[in-house]
Amino acid sequence: MTALFEVKNLTIDIPVPSGMLHAVRGISFEAMRGETLCIVGESGCGKSLTSLAMMDLLPTTAIRNAEKMTFQGQDMRSFSEHQMSDIRGSQMGMIFQEPMTSLNPSYSIGDQLTEMLIRHKNASRAEARERAIYLLEKVGITAAASRLNQYPHQLSGGLRQRVMIAMMLMCDPALIIADEPTTALDVTIQAQILLLLAELQKEFDMGLILITHDLGVVARVADRVAVMYAGEIVEAGTAEEIFNRPTHPYTQGLLDCIPIPGKTARGAKLGAIPGIVPSLVGVIEGCSFRERCKYASDACAKPGIELVPVSGIVEEHVTHDYRCVLSADQCVENLAGNA
């Protein structure tokens, strides 16, 4: 299976007064059709910038570089703004973190939905309207036809996010990037929206890149997971592998932070990762997580710690890579010793 989207060694640098901020430091991943890839990590690790880089929507000051960046086999690095705008929305959709402010307050829902189809597919107003109603119903909005005449301020956050999802589906894209689509929503709505996304991904056979810091969500919808820390991928693999055999100490720490029904005792303390994310200004030598890692040794300060496969995987389609000086077995043992 060829990748829908593939990026190799992506870096995003942002000049700041104190030097160069290396927000994303050489990450590689691919997204497949019909598959959900979750990119996980805490705030400020470069997840959102990565997603904006894919759409070529980075702030003008940010500098994007990549060894390889392809979408459906085409090299995206050479695309002009005009070519990019043809792809955006029509083949690649993006759902943002802030449903409250992501819709234009001056135009009706119908206008904002239909203009996409009119722009990309030369559809007539009536056709676009029909598709908008169909998709609004698909994303679980009742009285869809009458909603078209409503304005964003008349809708709740959850509804607005549903409208955003419907909007991005208008042109039947091959890939949807959802950047923390539920962060700004009510807890009760969060699960609904995520399950809806996962459902739609299957129904329309799209690739879905879901960016989140909520591991509970990841466990439910991900096919593959990439864990980011300080602008790098520290662990990546199929979802089952990551959850069953978390190898990198950071992934282990993240998983330790969420309670597991039946396993976590009532009143027991949840894990926490001490310390804060290191400053990304300037070069980080060695492992970026070593300051916060309880297994850190002198070896961690040496540069050139690569992302390597976890040994002993023989099954087809199962992948699992990690970035640590310790052997995978040692990492897993560490975790067992802790529990």
């Binding site: 929507l57 792809i87 955006r88 402010t101 307050p105 135009y107 722009r119 304005y151």
Partner: protein
Amino acid sequence: MLIYSLKRFGVAILVTFAVSVITFVLLHASGDPAMAMAGEGATQEDIEYVREHFGFNRPMLVQYIDWFVRALQGDFGISIYLKIPVAEVIAAKAPITAILGASALTFALLISIPLGVLAAMKPNTIFDRIALTIAVIGQAMPTFWFALLMMIFFGITLRILPVSGNTTWQHFVMPSIALGYYAMPAIMRLTRAGMIEVLSSDYIRTARAKGLRPRTVLFKHALRNAIIPVVSLSAVQLGFMLGGSIIIETIFSLKGLGNLAWQSIQRSDFDVMQALVLSIAMFYILLTYLADLLNAFLDPRIRVS
């Protein structure tokens, strides 16, 4: 929308009434109208006669009600200098001022909105600096001085535009520019600030993520939102321009309301002054009302509750 416009209309009526009271009181506080009307060298008997004849000896409240009731019927009294009804005088002069105001505002908007958009699209570049310079000059330079400079250059040196009168459209070019230039900087700065804010908003990012063409993003999605505060400001600026037209009309000898106001003040023509202030205020109130309606049309958050 209907309720909103009715509410605004109610407010407009109340403001008009308040303005009429304030004008009346201020004018009567500015000096004894009887003494002014009797003129210099009038005897005490003459003044008393005028006071009696025009009813200035009655209580202020009675005078106001009398004036107000007649004003409601369109009777603003008779100009003591021109000896014709005030309403007629104003009706004759109003079109000139209206043309001047409209063309000055058009000039200001045509220059300031594109400049503001351009400055916002390329902040801190040479375009932005040029726009800023134009704005600073406009704000710092007194209108009358700018008007005189233009008269010297276009009227006397180049001889391409007439310097006084109001018979052809060419007569309105310089006054409109002089008056409009004064309003331009504020509108431009507001457009620029609004556009910069809107361009960095989440919904513009959405519009780009939808793959819309850059001009659709800029004009349909950004400008529509950035222009909303500009509408209100334009109404206010036009109000200022009506005030400024007193100077501009005098400089260019345009026989409009501004010119009439200036002459009436010199002639102590009370009824004319009173009616002028009220009609300029009403014009301003009408503009604000129209701006409110336009805003409601542009912004569904006002229109649809």
